[in-house]
């Protein structure tokens, strides 16, 4: 009987340790966002200008919803390494459409496939400008086959650019664990299936900087919001 009680206690302790929950939150923006700029160079390129008969698009550095939610903030757990499940994760897709990357801010795991499409009717070159991973530069003809990229080393905001259309950028943060998220158009984010425990949560906006918060993930999950302001 005593052995049975000890076994059950141990099993409970182990299962409690394996409990996983979600981290959710909202990224808020306080203040007035810096003005976006019209991507004027598009008008000099006949292929791309033809895609915008009603006016040129603007930069999307500060995407703020009506409720003050801030999009494109990369939220992740700090200090976790060697936990990548990228090899078995679904590929992430980024498209070249209207001579712009869509989306422009992404996050993937090491070893996870990133598929780059070309939905435009013009040629692009997909030029990666990494800090830790090997650089590459490949041409992608209109209607050409998708290009697939994987990265072995984690790094923040790895830049993808097109030199044919030098206003085209995407930034891909690479993690070697699955505990990250990018805030959506309402500023909301969810990091799923985080093992219970204490962590430092980091939120990074490419222009507005970095914020951190110490959190404890319990069975009930945890909610953590961040508020960014112009520098």
């Amino acid at each position: 009987m005593k052995k049975t009680i000890l076994f059950l206690a141990a099993a409970l302790a182990v299962s409690a340790g394996l409990q996983a929950a979600d981290i959710t939150g909202v990224i808020n923006f306080k203040g007035t966002a810096p003005a976006e700029r019209e991507i004027a160079p598009i008008k000099d390129n006949p292929d791309c200008a033809a895609m915008y008969p009603n006016g040129l698009p603007s930069t999307k550095f500060y995407v703020v919803s009506a409720d003050g939610g801030l999009a494109d903030v990369v939220v992740s757990l700090k200090g976790i390494t060697g936990k990548s499940t990228g090899a078995s994760a679904d590929p992430v897709v980024v498209d070249q459409k209207g001579c712009l990357y869509s989306p422009q801010i992404l996050a993937i795991q090491t070893g996870q496939k990133l598929v780059v499409k070309n939905s435009d009717t013009c040629v692009h070159n997909v030029h990666t400008k990494p800090a830790a991973n090997p650089e590459s530069n490949q041409v992608q003809m209109p209607g050409g086959a998708d290009l697939t990229f994987t990265f072995d080393k984690p790094e923040p905001f790895l830049k993808f650019q097109c030199d044919v259309h030098p206003w085209m950028f995407a930034w891909v943060s690479v993690f070697d664990h699955p505990y990250f998220s990018v805030s959506d158009k309402d500023g909301k984010f969810t990091i799923k299936n985080v093992p219970a425990g204490k962590y430092t949560l980091e939120a990074v906006h490419r222009k507005l900087g970095t914020q951190t918060a110490d959190i404890e993930v319990t069975e009930a999950g945890v909610v953590q919001n961040f508020t960014f302001a112009p520098k």
């Binding site: 700029r37 991507i39 004027a40 160079p41 390129n45 006949p46 292929d47 791309c48 930069t59 550095f61 013009c122 040629v123 070159n125 030029h127 400008k129 650089e135 590459s136 530069n137 490949q138 041409v139 003809m141 650019q161 097109c162 030199d163 044919v164 259309h165 030098p166 206003w167 950028f169 222009k207 507005l208 900087g209 520098k231």
Partner: protein, 343 residues
């Protein structure tokens, strides 16, 4: 060489050399446009272009960055062709052995320059662009020098009519010309590190006489940068480098501003070299104005490229002035030696 023995002036050779130098100058301008438009990597393959033979790329692909990069490759091929003809022509027709070898040197340089440009694309190394730029400037000076060496002025000037130029003045011009070359290297480094507008205001620098280069300040500059043209985040080093470029411009401008009055004092206002020195000063004033305009107009590609081209012309002007002065001085020394022998 025997300076008393004048090789025959060959008008066709001179004009061909001059035309080759002019096309080389235009090639530097087109190369400047490639970098100004951040288009160097828009055609990822070399020597093919998008998998096509370079000379057969369908015109539908000559758009955006590819237009600048591809036409740069085509014009570079033309310069290589012209240089090859020039080298063969000099080898076959010019009596001066040193000039024949200078033609060979030009051929080897243009081949090396083409390979360097190709490697910059294939190896995706931004810093190779700095060497590519430096070699381009050196090659332009060499082509202009060859044109000078084949000119009627160089070949038919007589020792009796030549007036020497004091060593001090020649050394001054040579020193300033070397400074211009160093300045062009600094400019090329700034451009090829894609760190344009590391300082976005002028005459102040980030609102100060000397900008703050602390990590916090640099992070603030980067947050304010509106990337629209392939530019990298800047570093404190790049901010300092641009300040060195600005200070270098002041020193060079003062150096050239001193050269012109010095030439007038030593050679007289009517002397060709004095007039040339005033023109050089005019170029430098234009160049400094273009440098400021590059910042005021947010590194607009045409303004930045004009800055590159006038920088190249300033280097050529200093180099040719020094060569011409050295030529005149050597002829004068020969005349003096002859006079001493007679006496």
């Amino acid at each position: 060489m025997n300076e008393n023995c004048h090789p025959k002036y060959n008008g066709r050779l001179f004009w061909f050399a001059t035309a080759s130098a002019i096309v080389t100058f235009l090639l530097i301008g087109l190369g400047g446009l490639v970098t100004s438009h951040e288009a160097g990597m828009s055609v990822p393959d070399w020597p093919t272009s998008y998998g096509y033979n370079m000379f057969a790329l369908p015109i539908q692909f000559w758009h955006g960055g590819a237009f600048f990069e591809h036409t740069h490759r085509l014009l570079a091929s033309a310069v290589g062709f012209l240089t090859t003809i020039l080298a063969v022509w000099l080898w076959l027709k010019d009596e001066r052995r040193w000039l024949r070898w200078l033609g060979v040197a030009a051929f080897l340089l243009v081949v090396a320059q083409g390979i360097l440009g190709g490697l910059r694309v294939r190896l995706r190394m931004d810093n190779l662009g700095i060497f590519h730029s430096a070699l381009a400037q050196s090659f332009l000076v060499l082509m202009c020098a060859i044109a000078l060496f084949t000119s009627r002025w160089w070949l038919q000037q007589t020792a009796a009519a030549a007036h020497g130029v004091a060593r001090g003045l020649r050394s001054h011009v040579l020193f300033v010309t070397v400074l211009i070359f160093v300045q062009l290297l600094i400019g090329a480094t700034m451009r090829h590190q894609h760190a344009g507008l590391a300082i976005s205001d002028f005459p102040l620098a980030h609102g100060k006489i000397w900008p703050d280069t602390s990590p916090e300040a640099v992070a603030h500059y980067n947050a304010e940068r509106t990337e629209m043209n392939g530019e990298n985040p800047i570093t404190g080093f790049q901010v300092v480098l641009q300040m060195v470029h600005r200070l270098g411009a002041v020193i060079i401008l003062l150096g050239v501003a001193a050269a012109a009055p010095l030439a007038r004092k030593r050679l007289g206002g009517a002397d060709g070299l004095t007039k040339f020195a005033w023109a050089w000063l005019g170029l430098l004033i234009l160049q400094v104005t273009l440098g400021a305009a590059t910042i005021w107009y947010k590194k607009a590609a045409d303004v930045a490229t004009a800055h590159v081209m006038i920088g190249a012309l300033s280097l050529v002007a200093g180099s040719l002035w020094w060569l011409a002065a050295t030529r005149r001085t050597s002829l004068t020394e020969i005349a003096n030696e002859g006079q001493n022998t007679v006496n």
